[in-house]
Subunit: 556 residues, 2 copies
Amino acid sequence: MTDKHCRWAGWGRETDALKLSDRPKLQAYLAETLGGLPPRAEEPPPLESIDAAPSRLSETQLAAVVEIVGDEQVRRDNASRLKFSLGKSYPDLIRARSGRIEPVTDAVVSPADEAQVAAVVEVAARRHLAVVPFGGGTSVVGGVDPRMGSQQAVITLDLSRLNELRIDENSLLIDVGAGAFGPDIEATLSTADLTLGHFPQSFEFSTIGGWVATRGAGQNSTRYGKIEDLVQAVRIVTPQGRIETRNVPASATGPSVLQAMIGSEGTLGVITSVIARVRRRAEATAWRAFLVGDFEVGCRLLRALEQAELPLAVVRLSDAEETRWMSKASEGRPSLVTRLGKWYVQQTMRRRGFESAEVCFLLASFEGSKPTVRLAAAQAQRIAKRFGAIGLGSSPGKGWQQDRFRLPYLRDELIARRLMVDTLETATTWSNLGSLYESVRETLARSMRESGAAGVVMCHVSHLYSSGASLYFTYMAPQVQGQELSQWHTVKQATTSAIVAGGGAISHHHGIGQDHLPLEAEDGPLAVAAMVAAKERLDPDGIMNPGKLFGRPGPE
Amino acid sequence: MTDKHCRWAGWGRETDALKLSDRPKLQAYLAETLGGLPPRAEEPPPLESIDAAPSRLSETQLAAVVEIVGDEQVRRDNASRLKFSLGKSYPDLIRARSGRIEPVTDAVVSPADEAQVAAVVEVAARRHLAVVPFGGGTSVVGGVDPRMGSQQAVITLDLSRLNELRIDENSLLIDVGAGAFGPDIEATLSTADLTLGHFPQSFEFSTIGGWVATRGAGQNSTRYGKIEDLVQAVRIVTPQGRIETRNVPASATGPSVLQAMIGSEGTLGVITSVIARVRRRAEATAWRAFLVGDFEVGCRLLRALEQAELPLAVVRLSDAEETRWMSKASEGRPSLVTRLGKWYVQQTMRRRGFESAEVCFLLASFEGSKPTVRLAAAQAQRIAKRFGAIGLGSSPGKGWQQDRFRLPYLRDELIARRLMVDTLETATTWSNLGSLYESVRETLARSMRESGAAGVVMCHVSHLYSSGASLYFTYMAPQVQGQELSQWHTVKQATTSAIVAGGGAISHHHGIGQDHLPLEAEDGPLAVAAMVAAKERLDPDGIMNPGKLFGRPGPE
């Protein structure tokens, strides 16, 4: 077990955990909006104390796998098997806290290279083993659970040993093993003054193979693109053999095989390495923050900034509720505005007639050469002025940047305070953004109420495109004790339906996994049927990550 | 028959035809490099004089189709059937000139809308008819030939009536019928100060459905992207029903169905409409032209310009041979440099020690806001200086822009002068660009010699990416009379093999059709097998454009 993975029953490293008691303002806000905060739950049971069902791997199956990777690379101890049996979704954390984990993978296998992956997959196909590829294990949609499908047992492939990285500086490309973690990739690239520019919230604990398998996005995607824009080629080991897509910048050679492998979530095969485009690190970055009168004007401002083709990198417009939340949560951190600034802002807000309950916070960064960034920041300022926005300067952005990977730690603490807390995201066109926002927000509020406890809903717009943007919702409510999973499930189902009915993508960057099934809701049953036909050609026995992406909703 | 299509046995409109005798310099250059110019060939036989095999459509089949679209929308006359039986490749033009066309489509059917397309496809599936979707018919890879496969007859679907266009100005999207032609789309968009920015050389005579079906690129793709970057969603009618991909800017919902429909070349179904991203017309455009010492230094300069992230739109680096060609072909057109400029350039070339046989011409345009373009042009000038390039100012670019759609007319004239003339293109990484250029160039020269007549090969680099670029070759040699097709075929096969062996894409923007088969050469047999499984799910009887993309090389 490498310490690059998150700790058991929580996010990241123990030492980075957050305490709500250190943030009295946030605690007060939560108590007020949720009608009181429940008492602290018990600590989750330690990993070592949890029982797991015995491994179903037969002696013959085990021997065949051991022969390939060596005995020490096939872990059968309870702790390893449990750790590789959960992702980091809210239901995963609830299950970890309960100490009742089922199903549990039958072995954690750590191949050294692509050849070993191929040999293991071949053995698995011959010996009726399901295979779950495992990168960082940070899936928030049930993407790494060890479902068995029609097989006899499950092995989880820990890909962290596939982490070699080679740079082609002429072509600004890297050829990198699927199991390389975010920080290691960026550390190597920084020595050559390069960056991949892909910073999902899970960045510190996730791998490039996982990003590609889930078709993810980083927080700077407005500049760098989603992972499907960054990947030039992949190698993938399927039960029927290896596919290596051609390492070319673009082609006109039929349907894109590459774009069929991206987002395949381990159901077609094991992505073993990725050729990805990198960029020279931007010479300059400028942050600008603004307050706008309300969410609707903020959306129009975002659209204007994006459609002016400014070199935006990170962009976020928080709705009024998230703006309130941020002002409480930033306590003890560089505050949104200094005290003097605060006085100025309040004066300006009053003069412009902003309703403080409606005010929204907007954050944008620009990257590029020094003159480009200077030009962009000035142009942004001019555009913002047209929408009556109040400039807050650059410090809120820098503060956000420091805290960008902290939210999942806060989630742990909120769950420890017996709150249901989760996020969900979608994307749609600019024309449809306002109406989708309203309908999802209403559905979240209503479904929380109806499932047992009124909650709070907040949202931001991020990941801009000329044609639209992503909506990212965070919601929380007191847990209904003893019914945590069904409470969550009711809310999840209602909101996914609202997203689909409202014309949004089922997911913009989290993926499908099990929690967003059925996939048919996105492009219709015929499209999925064609994909399933392709999947059956590559994986005729259905050994690859059963139950995900193409599975049916509900228990196995 | 609408006059939006090209004329019979040649490109574009009769009135725009070119005569080599009006360009004595070019004629002299050709005579010199090809060891004399053959005498002019006879004019191709007029369309009306050409016989076609009788339509194989039975009375019942015909009646079923007529019932859907009406009698006048099912053309069975020889002239219509012949015109819709060829694309615009060199072999197509040779066949047209020979007057021996085989196979000929059995009827040209012009549906009014998507519902009629669906009804026709359903009838075709039930009544054993192959269906060839036909947009502008400008395929240069045999994409629209009426192959029958295992069916009883072929109908060609003329999609030109599906040309409605709606604009969503908020989202900078258009929803447009697949049969809309380039000039009509841009004319409508220009009224709203918008542009799609997709200008392939076939622009005037091709449709958006064709661009999407072939995964094409426009000349300004360095800024606007290839068609797969411009398309947000498609609707496609397959024999098993309709697929409509979700109209969202991005998603994380499995393999991309959209990217599987793009490039499908009519083999999965009929693309009926496209939702595409448009942009506000750039406030400013700047052209810059340069001479560089040789091709290798030119490639390095291109790479530096692209990787500096300048807002490049059109970019072309001609090799030494193409540079010579252009200096001859531009006669009577705005010349590359004025007479005074010429003197200056010659002085500078001498001072810098340029070998005039090695000098290469480089053209670049920048688009964006006025300050962005000003900044970019200045930065380009500085970078070019580092590579010893000699600036030629903006007029060569403007001249090129005026002539951008003229080359196919010149091809007609060269064929009339009994020359084999064709183009082919690929793409690769920057690291591999020089070696792929050399190997394809050598293969072209050698295979022309070996197939009967030494020829001339020229090339330009265009369509830049951070990771690489496209190589576009033009070659010509005297025809081997009576063996025109086999002469061409020998050269084509040899160069496609060289491209594949050299690591390039089989095609960067022309597509696969019949001339680039087998598709397996790109991403391998397993990837194609998976695609074929999906194809068989959507088109179980194999009625959709048989023999293309997934077909076998060689005659039906």
